[in-house]
Amino acid sequence: MIISEIIILLSALFAASVLLIYVERKLIAAVRLKKIARVYGLMQPIADAFKLFFNETILPRGKTQVAFMLLPVLFFTSIVACWAVIPVDEGVVLADINAGALFLVAMFFLSICLIVVIGWASDSKYAMFGALHSVAMMVAYELSAMLAIVCVLISSGSMRLSDIVNAQAEMWYCLPHFPMFVVFFIYALVRTNCPPFRMSESGNISDGEYSIEYTSVGYIFIAFARYVNMLLMSAVITVFFLGGWLPPFEVELFLLIPSVIWFGLKMSLCLLIFIFTKTAFPIYRYDNLVQFGWKMFLPFSLVWVIAAAGYTLVSATGKF
């Protein structure tokens, strides 16, 4: 039973990420006024897939060979595993566990850990530096993003994701927690490696990214993991801040539309903003971004957590 559900989830993710790759290419081409290949550019992803499959697999010579082969799969798993707790509709979720939000955070941290290990296992200093850059970047924004999640947990009073969605029936948390919404959105950009934060590929700063040594199937796993991660981050934003499967207003017409479609619409909105940020913004300098994370975001979100906790306490007890 659960196996068939997992297979359905995996194939849905596969289809969604293939679609995402296609849409992303079309949109970037449209924004930058580039011509795309024939047949609406449909053949290009297929050609890319063929090229990647028939690439030569190159392995490092040292002791890290086994780790090098295993790690892309583990990285992919750590990101797909997050989807187990994300509720797409009332009751439509693989495992609606009590500590769903915590599980998400734990998996985020694990995937960061795996990036360092990938850098190490590649046995090349360029991959190592790429991994260190990515990790320093993510860790700088990780803490403030976790504090943003804490704000949502304080307001909803539960760690179960479906409870968090239901608690947003009156007002989505992107309105009262708007600054935290922005913080979490920027964290999502960092995690999905979108250009204002695309340190790992900004040529003159580092000489490559952590996946530089991977070819063929290993690279397919890492690249797919990135797109699944984009889908995942938009789903997480939808659940935490945009009211999950709930329609924006309790109007008859809106209630007619099935709630899964609402979830999909909100996710696609997030994805569109991701892609437009990718095309529109230049890459900033590395140290500026890390300082921005540590010195601006972290103190601000700490203050916001205290304020949110104080407000919740006062409104619950009625005493000041």
Partner: protein
Amino acid sequence: MNEALVFYVLATFSIISAVMVVFSCAVNSVLFLIMVFISVSGLFLLLGAEFLAMMLLIIYAGAFAVLLLMLPLMLNIKETYQHTAVKCSAFGVTVGLLLFSCLAFVLKVKPQRLENDVSLAVANNVKALGEVLYTDYAYLFQLCGMVLFVAIVGVIMLMIRNGMEIKEHKIAGQIIRSADEIELKQLTDGEK
């Protein structure tokens, strides 16, 4: 039956990887440590302590292990590591015995108390832990916070180096031009 099987698999897994932490070098031992954390968090999940399991993953496997991974990578520790592990084995065994006797003491003297706490934890993890932490152990909790705070301040103090030149970008200094530094030239056709 099923749960017992999962328990034994996780337990053997964690013990084997804990042993391998000591007997493998540098990065490998950190990877085995991560494996210990993951399997122990699985054990916590079996007990129904979801909060503890996730916290173990977040704090140890996530934050702590990343830092530990950086250490051998940065310091370039090679095979000497294993050698020191053997040299310090007496110290390690002493500490291990001390910790084990502490655990035995707690289990022997305060079984009642422990049972109460565990039964609380089964009902609703986060709430139960919060109620115990902020009432019975409020002062200890605050003390932990103070210790961590002192650690943060200590790290910042270590990083401040007075008298050393700190390399940083001074953008205003880099792009400012005074009028006498600039020379206007009239180019002839050949120079253009």
